[in-house]
Amino acid sequence: MLKTRKILTIVAIVAVLVFAYYAANATPVISDQNYTYIAELEWYNTYDAGAKAAAEAKKPLIVYFWTIWCVYCEKYHKEVFSREDIREILAQDFVRVAIDMDVNKEDTRRFNVQAPPHVIFMTSEGEIITRVPGYMPADEFKEVLLRVKASAGGAHP
């Protein structure tokens, strides 16, 4: 007969294996080779990919610098980018780039970004319109979005 402690050990090992398998399958993917998925929108992973798309679509560019552990980034995702009206503007009028600062060190250095979150708005030609370092609440952020949209020209004069 198996001893109690042996049974406990086996139960623990099985629990750990089940956990590892389940967690590996259930953990959501936030980014793959081309896109990052924030606020259920597709964001390009690199500036170059975004710049190319912006030039083709003649839309202004939002370049968002973030990391997984940054609390104000989560606030951005939750309270700003996911808000219906803002999400709508982002989806319709902007080409989106999300730079994970832990992964894409090249673009982080290129735009000299020190800390997440950090947003840079650019024209479709890649000219910087404005920067928003740190967090900005939804209403103000929307205002900036609309002004950028207006000043960048684009589809809605």
Partner: protein
Amino acid sequence: MSIGDALLSLALLTGSATAALLVLPHQEKLEKLRRATLVLFASSLTAAFILLLYYFAISDFRIFYVWKFSSSAYPLYYKLSGALAGQEGTLLFWAMLIALSALWLERGEERKLAFVKQTQLVVVALGLYFTFLTFLQSPFTTIYEAFPDIPVGYLPEDGNGLNPLLLDPWMASHPFTTFLGYAGTTIPFAGAVVYLFTTARAGGVEGAAQRLWVTKGLQWLRFAWLFSTISMAFGGIWAYKTLGWGGFWAWDPVETAMLLPWLMLTAAVHVTLEHRRDRTKYNVLAPILVAFSFSLVVYATAVTRSGIFESVHAFIAGSVGKYIMLLVGISFAVPLALGLWKYTRIPRREEEDEIINRTNIFYAAILVFLITIFISFYGITFPPIMKLITTQKYAITKQFFNLWLYPFFLLMLLLIGLGLHYRESRKAEVLRDFFIFTLFTIVAAFIKPTEDYNIVDYTSFISASKPLLYSTIGEISSLSVVPPAFYIFYASIERWRFFASASTRRKLREAGVIAIHIGVALIAIGVVFSSMFTSEFSVTLNKNRIGEEKVLAQAVFHEGFGKLGTWGVHQGEVLTDYKIKLLDYKEYVDYGSASRVNSKRGMSIQEFRAAIARGDARSEYTVRGTVSRVLRGEHATFIKLSDESGELWVAADPSLRVPIGVEAVARGVPLRGVKTPDGATDVVLLANQVSDTIAQAFKKVQLARVAIYKGKAKIGEGDVKFEVYKNGDARRPLIDRSLVRDVFVVLDSPTYQGDLSITVRIKPLINEIWLGVILFVLGIVLCIFYEARGSEK
């Protein structure tokens, strides 16, 4: 070669000699030599570290490491803390502590035993390894070696400085406590490895000398445990105070990596105590867990420094990462292999086959602990590995840890209660209580007045998909932490009764044990309630409307079709009875201690003029003074420096920004007979540098004084600041503390068109965490001081 590198070379030499002499068969005549080399090994490393501290104290910016992490504007305390701000200094500190541990083993008659000698050999070998790493990446490298372009003899005006967020007394102490704790695991590791090896070789038979691994190791384990606890608390307090998002823990990979050795130490201390009671028990598991505490310490360093792992701390990634990874591998593999070897060599013994007894309960608790360690380990190790294999990035966020660890955390708390209460003689009663509290816990897990009680917040974007098991665990009510916490209080009181007639010494030790566990219960309550029931309000005030009051509205989220008819997460607002009032607002420039520092540098204007008149052959001058005017031209910025002795115009780069009223130090070449902006003809200093020191300490501060009301009662008042430094921003929140709650107010971003974007958080019971930590620390101290003697069987 510099003095520092010479000391490191001496340490390498004497350390190798000590190791070699320890390997050689024992010879009386070599004993003296061995002791001498060991003392030299430890003292050369200590001298090297003191030298490094000295370089920081005098701000010797010729040393690259000092330049990188310090500034002459800092007070001494922050200067010295720079010594552990980077990899080079930490490795040296660590090597020094390990060498000192090896020296500690020289004490007493026991040093002559083969067992102690072997342990010492392992310690010296580890010390040598770290010395070698320090040597590879020396903290004594000069800027001339680091930047070959810099002309030799050039002395930087000021250092690069620390990130302003790190300028905090808690953060300054954090690395010192961390590495004291880390280094404390070295002797236990060495003792455990030698114990496993020697007893395995002897077929499981252990002699009296082998027992030393417990008697010597246990106090070191507690020491390591104590300092790991303190260092995590310091880190948490710092994060809460300075990062501005109002939390003390974010499951950042480095935090998690630091939690791993702490958890392992906790398990190791318990198992080792159990092994001490009865040496036939856990004679494989105890040494393995003890050794793994050290392995996880090295792993934590690898996570911070190797650059493979992603985290806020990784900005100081270094080049010795691969050697640290190698040590991680070795330190896991060796004890594991030795443990397995020993396991196959010891004769199996018959166990008492009772399902519920002390041994089995204890064993179950240890297993639960090991599972939590595995989950945390997995959480930080899985994403980088998957990233390497699939290029996909998996979202392991705080929700992942909260979700998976919470059930085990509850089970652990219940088992702590049971363990504290357990007496073989009163088994039936003890078990009855255990089942009652377990039942309460299960019932409490279902009591949810609102969705806010769910332990995992699904409004976060990352949990967009909800696997069944996740939503099941995620919907456990956070009230479920209350019964287990009360069980621990209850069990502690019950336990105390058993010691009513014990000796004072025994009582004090027991008080330590109880304090530790009550501390855990308090921390559990504080952590769950402060993170679950924080009310958070975002509000915008305007700096021009002093005296304005605003009712705080809470954002609510729901998923469904919104006003525009699209599916998604929508935000609404609910008004509360909290109010905020803007009492005052101001903006100012704070020069820190820069002026004090500068008054010691350079010459006064009179001295400068006298030197010019004398026709000094110097080509460059450094002059100090107060900036009284600034004129910005196309090709130069003109700055007028003044002091009691006169005035002087300085021409500098057009991009230079210096505020009026600052004390500045300008360095450059004098140009005679120049027409100054005043219209006079005078000497002008053509500056290639205008004091960096000012800019370093210089910060622009936006300060709002606010008061928070709940109904009519004022619950908090104070200053909230947003500081802009040369090398970053810092939010300085208002934290109004009380035993029931903290009122936490933070300025989220710099003023935008006069608007102050403010977040107010009401965090209930958060101070119970700090109270719990204090009890915990006191408890360990009591256990260390009133260590049971002669309680071995």
